[in-house]
Structure formats: C-alpha cells, structure tokens
Amino acid sequence: MFHLVFASTLVESVGFGLVTASILAIAAVGFTLQFGVSNMLNLAYGDIMTAAAFGAYEVNKAGAPLWVSFIAGMATGAVTSVLLHRYIYRPFVRRGTQLVGLVIVALSAAVIIQNALLAGFGATFFTLKLPHTSTVHVAGATLTVLQLVIIGIAVAAMLAVDAMLRRTRLGKAMRATSGNPALARACGINTNRVVDTAWLIAGGLCGLAGVLLVLNTASFESTTGSDFLVITIAAAMLGGVGQAYGAMIGAVVLGVVTEVAAAYTRSSFKEVIAFAVLVIIVLIRPQGMFGQPVTALTMNKEVVN
C-alpha cells in the first residue's frame, strides 16, 4: 500500500514538474540565448516577465481572447527587452563601462522596472480571466487542459528555437557571434543586428514564459517575475550559460527535481533544493553540464553591443 501511494505521488509530482519545467525552459533558453550572444548579464529579465504578464493582463481585462493575450505578452516582453538594450545597456557598454558597472546597471534597471510596475498597478494580486478548463488523466497524473497546453507551447517553442539556431542564417550568425564576436564581424556578419535580434527573441521568449507562469500560478504581483529569475538563472547555469540545449535540459532537471522534492518535503523547500542542486553543480563543474571549461581565454569576455 505504501509503495502504491509513494508511486502515485511520484507520478503526480513528475507531471507538475514537467509543467514547471516547460515554463522554466522557455525562460532559461531566452536568458541563455541573449547572454550567450551579448555576454550581458540581464538581471532585469525577471521583471520583463512581470511586465509581459501585465501586458497580457491589460489585454485580457479588455476582453480579448486568450491567444491575443499571449501575443500581447510576448510583444511587451520583446519591446521592453529591445528598449532596455538599445537605450540603457548599449550606451553604457559603448561608454566603456566595465563588467562590474554593467551588472549594477542591470540590477538597477531590474529594481526600477519592478517598482515602476508596483507604482503603476499597485501592491495587490492580479489574475488572468480564463475559460473553464477540465482535467485530463495522462499516464497516472492528473493535469488540467491548461497545463497540457503549457507543455505543448513549450515543446513548440523549443522546436522553433532549435530550428532557428540550426537551420537559419540568423541562427548560424548567432552561434558565430556567441563563439567569437571579432571573428564573426571579420566574416561579414552584422553583429549589431544579430545582437539586436537576440535581445528581441529573448524578450519574446521571456514574455511568453511570463504569461505562462501567471496562467499556471493563477495570480501574480509585481515581484512574481523577479522571484522566478533566480531559478531561471539556476537552470541556465546548470546547462552552462550560453548553451541553449543545456538550458532546456537544466530546466527539465530543475523543474522535475523541485516538484518531486516538494511532494516529499515541505513545498516551501522546493526552491531551496533547486538551489542546492545548483551549488553542487557549481562546485563540481563550474561551467555547467554543457559549458566550455573556463580558461584564460574565456575568463573575461567583452560585452558585445
């Protein structure tokens, strides 16, 4: 009897884990794509997620169907991300601000966006209006249709990113810029445009992740995105920062581990366990599962603008 209960809890929690992992994968892939191409640690990423959620919320409140809210969220994310890069990060990089300064600029930007949202919308919880969804039993786990949709969207997004990176000229240019920006420029790649596009795509993925996150958790506030940032960074680091496929696997590992851990311990411990996984990985393999080993050459990469 005990084994049965144990097993069903495991299946249930793996199911929830896959939902969390789906959202996390979208967020972590966006984060790692942008970081890999530009080397700029964008600590405002989580707050762009919140901004996107508010964008979707406004459209949703106006009575638009759910898919329009998705597009509004993605657009908000993409636009915020590009504006942030164009008008804040890039001028600082061009002015010669070094890495320490840039990290502080990013943290300041994060605090400003979060508190601007707080000032604009107020310190309460918000909810997206949803059509009624039914539950489905899949392989012993009970999930709502909405959760299945989230997993489906994530799989589609990951396939799209994969196709983009592998099959398009833009994807090749991104990988080249990520590997060696000077060489990429010398080969005639317009790295400026590549970096701009990376911020745009990362912002879109970030917005999508933000909308899915607040759909899954049912309610959100101005700190929801920044709370999610840390686990996003953890997933990206687990896979090796800049490694899109690493981020996907890192997200699945973290998503499942946190939900399974939450099922057997207290649910409030799930983040602690996720971070413990990260700290262990950092100790054993600082470059992440799929990252390049840190050498003198890769130690201090310049920020590409």
Partner: protein, 346 residues
C-alpha cells in the same frame, strides 16, 4: 533638546555608523579588490542573527514564543564579536566555493542566487532563527546599567562611533599598506598581479573574509540597537543600496565611501520619511527604489568615479629613489605597482 529630538538624532547617528561600517566592508571587497559581492547583506544578517540568539537566552524565554538555536546569554560585547566571527566563517566557506574557479559575471550570479537561498532558508526553517517572523525582543546591551533613556541612546552612539573607529583603522591599515596595493592590482589587472607573483585567489579570499567580518559586526550592532531582525529586513536588493552608496561616494576611497553611506541609506531614507503620504500604500516605497536605481545608474553614467574619487597613486621611478633599476624594491613593499593605473571608471 527635547527628548524626542535626542531620540531621533541618536537613532540617525547609530544608523549612520552601522551603514558606514558596512559600506567600508563592502568597499574593501568591491571597491578595492573588485569582487562582485551581491550577497553582502547576508553576512550582515548572519552577524545580526548570531548576536540576537546569543543575547536572547534559551528559546524558552519570553514564554517560548520564538524558536531558534544556540540561544544563550553572553555578556556584551561578546555576541557582537561572535557575529563578526560567524559572518567571517560564512564568507570563508562561500568564498572558497565562488571566488576560485568562476568567471566574474558567474560570480555575480552565484552570489545573487546564494543571497536568495539564504533568505528562503531563514524563512522556511521555522526552528532555526524563528522563520518568517524573525527574532524580536532582543535585549539591548547594558540597558539595565543605564537608566536614563537619552543617556542610553548617547551611550550607544558613543559605542557605535568607537566601533566605526576600530573598523576604520582596520580598513585603513589594509588599504594603505602593500597589501592594499596588491588588492588593487588584483582588481585592475588580475593576470599582471599573478605574473608578479601575487596569489590572486588568496588575496581575494582575504578581502572577502575581512569584508564579511565587518559586515557581521555591523549587523550585530544594528540588531542590538533595533532589537528585532527578520528575513524581510535583508532581501538581496538591500545590497544594491549599499553598492549605490559606495558608487556615489567613490569606490576605493574610504572617505568617499563614508560620505556615500551618509548620503544614500541615511539621508535619503530620512528625507522620504517626511514626505506627505500620497497615492496608494507602497507608492512612496516604490518611488524610493526607483530613485535608488536611477541614482546608481546616473552616477555610473555621469560620474563613475564617485563624489570623492579614489586617489591616483603616483610612484617615482626606482632610479629617482636611488635604487638600481634591477634592484629590489624598498623594504616590506608588496611588489611594484602594475603599469595600469585605474582611471576611476568601473
């Protein structure tokens, strides 16, 4: 002066002292050595919790409404000193993990993640340091010896000032010595410092632990004064306030950092306290954070060297000092200064 004014002024002075100490510690790590410590606030918190549990007594006291470990009643100033020790040990452990093999922006990420883990652990372990609600009713040191309320306040100001002086001489002893030169060399040109035979990893670790001890002591003093401490008071963004103070004042310059600590966390928070309440609740707080963020960005753009920039240190070439070009550098010197001189830009 009326009693209210005295209470207000003395409280401000204690806050100023604590912030100045903390900023000196952070400056040692960040301004002088170039370590991105985005988890600085957790070392202050470690010191505060240690001091708290070592003065509160066993957790059956006060009707046992709080749960924490290691409760005992150590005599003043031991709990505060122990706060420094615990924060130092914690920074040694964290420094050993993060400072050695990680790229510098990875370090920033890991520090940020650690700061969040620390908050989550303190919030969720209800029996560790009383979880989410935190510690309260922490006895003030020697409060039974001094009966007058204002007298006690002034006594605490004097004690904080004394602690500031000790911390200042400690920090100054490091930054003006050859050791400080070696730390600045690590900041400005890590490989040049290593090529000159400096042990970069151990220099970084030294600066990290020294800053951690100072943070712990500042936390201990703060908690002895305000008598309560909870996870809400040390969220990771609080480190941004201290970083902003260091940048505004002038990183690498102890006097500038003191000025920054008085301007940003102290003066700024006090001015906004007197703004008339307007808008919805939380609106002023939100604006306060927006201004803090804009302040650090604005300084990084317009005046990255801060109000009082780090002194440019000039050294005469060895020939003018009467030492042969191939000869040894003066006695006790930590090695020649690397060729690059900081231009005050972050």
């Amino acid at each position: 002066m009326s009693q209210a004014v005295v209470l207000y002024a003395t409280t401000l002075l204690v806050y100023a002292g604590v912030d100045i100490m903390a900023c000196w510690g952070l400056n040692l790590q960040f301004g002088v050595t170039g370590i991105y410590n985005f988890a600085f606030i957790i070392f202050q918190a470690a010191g505060a919790y240690t001091t708290g549990v070592l003065t509160l007594g066993p957790d059956t006291a006060n009707g046992g409404f709080q749960h924490y470990i290691f409760g005992s009643t150590w005599p003043f100033p031991l709990p505060i000193l122990m706060g420094g020790v615990v924060a130092g040990v914690l920074s040694l452990l964290i420094g050993l993990v993060t400072l050695r093999r990680l790229r510098s922006d990875y370090q920033a990420m890991v520090m940020l993640v650690l700061a969040v883990i620390a908050t989550l652990v303190a919030e969720n372990l209800a029996t560790f340091v009383n979880g989410d609600s935190g510690l309260a009713l922490i006895p003030q040191p020697l409060s039974n010896q001094i009966t007058s309320v204002t007298g006690y306040q002034w006594w605490f100001v004097a004690f904080t000032a004394f602690a500031c002086l000790v911390v200042y001489f400690f920090v100054r002893r490091i930054t003006s010595a050859p050791l400080g030169r070696a730390l600045r060399a690590v900041r400005d040109h890590e490989y040049a410092a290593a090529a000159l035979g400096k042990n970069v990893a151990s220099l970084r670790l030294f600066s990290f632990v020294a800053g951690g001890v100072i943070a712990g002591i500042s936390g201990g003093i703060l908690v002895s004064f305000i008598t309560a401490w909870s996870p809400g008071s040390w969220l990771y963004v609080e480190t941004l306030v201290l970083l902003t103070a260091v940048i505004v004042g002038g990183m690498g310059n102890n006097f500038g950092v003191m000025l920054g600590a008085m301007l940003v966390p102290v003066a700024f928070n006090e001015i906004t306290r007197y703004l008339p309440q307007f808008g919805r609740p939380g609106l002023i707080d939100a604006f306060q954070w927006i201004v803090i963020g804009s302040l650090s960005m604005g300084f990084l753009w317009f005046r990255p060297q801060g109000i009082v920039p780090e002194r440019r240190r000039k050294y005469k070439p060895p020939a003018e000092l009467g030492v042969g070009a191939t000869g040894a550098v003066g006695p006790g010197a930590g090695g020649p200064e690397p060729a690059t001189v900081p231009d005050g830009r972050l």
